[in-house]
């Protein structure tokens, strides 16, 4: 079985690390792996992605949350694939910077809706919060375990088990602490490197 990681982020951050963690676990299960940066399709066209999808049995989308949904280049890729992914299996990993994972819920439904429209078998999704900030240098133990559980199921052609979903969604630190730390870091960075105050209103006439 061949699996293709669809990299939904324009950056090389949390989405890449999460996606690659799942891919590493899938490799351990004996799957052949490949990855494609969806943002490349905007400049090189979608042909390369389409042929990579043709050769794959399982598609894994790893993407950040942009304005309650998938980033524009990711949507563009899914638009291109809507008639070119029938018969594939599909799962998704979404991550957001908010402390609550439920912010990803709508975007996850959009992934599932794509799968339905394209004729893919939907094998579920995992939702992580607190962005790359909370993942640590190596991925935390709970994330590694959740990826491993997901990989074992996906390799058998089964849906991601609830336990993997719940582990992935667990908050690594309390919400109040996350907000305190992140807001502190934001203020500090803007004070040090910002070219305007943090609450500047440059577009207002």
């Amino acid at each position: 079985m061949r699996v293709l990681l669809l990299m939904g982020s324009p950056r090389e951050g949390a989405s890449l690390r999460l996606g690659r963690a799942l891919m590493a676990s899938l490799k351990e299960q004996g799957l052949a792996t490949e990855e494609y940066y969806l943002v490349q399709g905007l400049t090189q066209g979608w042909g390369k992605l389409e042929s990579a999808v043709r050769q794959a049995d399982l598609l894994i989308l790893s993407s950040p949350l942009y304005v309650d949904s998938l980033p524009a280049p990711t949507i563009a890729a899914l638009e291109a694939l809507a008639d070119n992914a029938a018969g594939k299996r599909m799962a998704a990993i979404l991550n957001c910077g908010f402390p609550e994972p439920f912010h990803n819920t709508t975007a996850l439904k959009i992934c599932r809706q794509f799968a339905r429209r394209a004729g893919c078998t939907w094998l579920g999704g995992m939702s992580l919060s607190m962005g790359g900030f909370s993942l640590g240098k190596g991925l935390s133990r709970r994330v590694r375990i959740s990826m491993k559980l997901a990989a074992q199921a996906l390799a058998r052609g089964e849906a991601i088990p609830d336990r993997a979903v719940h582990l992935a969604a667990r908050k690594p630190i309390p919400k109040w602490l996350y907000l305190l730390v992140l807001n502190g870091v934001f203020r500090r960075v803007v004070r040090k490197h910002g070219k305007a105050p943090i609450d500047a209103q440059p577009y207002f006439h």
Binding site: V39, Y66, A72, E100, K109, C111, Q113, K195
Partner: protein
């Protein structure tokens, strides 16, 4: 009333609703932007608009102009084909570039964590989706997305509606009118 219409239909497709909204262009208070014909680079997720140049995107293109026009409008109308229950990539490329208009700091809003508002006033938001074939699940996701957006973009009023392309023109016209009225917008 300053109204900004952001048309997210791809170049090779069209809708009766689009034709109706294009009629409004004649009004001097209305600006109609066909996003398919507007070169807007994708948000790179660099967070410069929150941390380095607060409120401003570092990508100098039409995406910046649209964000500027957005915040200076009384109402913004988003128009899109319902795409997997969400917005088209054409509309989303503009929407992704709106984040300079909110502040990176987190706050509690309606029992959830959201970003702090940057401006004292935001435009009313009318989000209109069009389906070629009726799909209840897709429409439900669309309404949910519109509601989530309204929590994050702080519109003074919000309305969303999913139209069917098969609807007769006159029915479409009255449906549009009532969706706009719901957000206090008249065209």
């Amino acid at each position: 009333m300053n109204i900004l219409i952001l048309d997210g239909f791809p170049e090779n497709s069209s809708s009766k609703l689009q034709a109706l909204l294009l009629e409004a262009q004649a009004d001097p208070g209305v600006e109609y932007i066909s996003l398919a014909k507007t070169a807007i680079k994708h948000c790179k997720g660099c967070f410069s608009c929150w941390l380095i140049t607060p409120g401003e995107c570092v990508i100098q293109d039409a995406g910046n102009d649209v964000a500027r026009k957005y915040i200076n409008s009384d109402a913004v109308i988003l128009l899109t084909p319902v795409t997997f229950g969400g917005y088209s990539s054409v509309l989303k490329k503009a929407l992704d570039r709106m984040i300079p208009n909110i502040c990176g700091l987190f706050t509690e809003y309606q029992g959830e964590t959201h970003h702090v508002r940057r401006y004292p006033k935001y435009p009313a938001l009318v989000i209109l989706g069009v389906q070629n074939t009726a799909d209840k699940e897709g429409a439900e996701i669309f309404y949910e997305l519109a509601r989530r957006n309204s929590l994050n973009l702080y519109p003074t009023a919000m309305a969303s509606h999913v139209f069917s392309e098969a609807t007769e023109m006159e029915q479409l016209r009255s449906g549009l009118k009532s969706a706009l009225a719901q957000a206090g917008v008249s065209l």
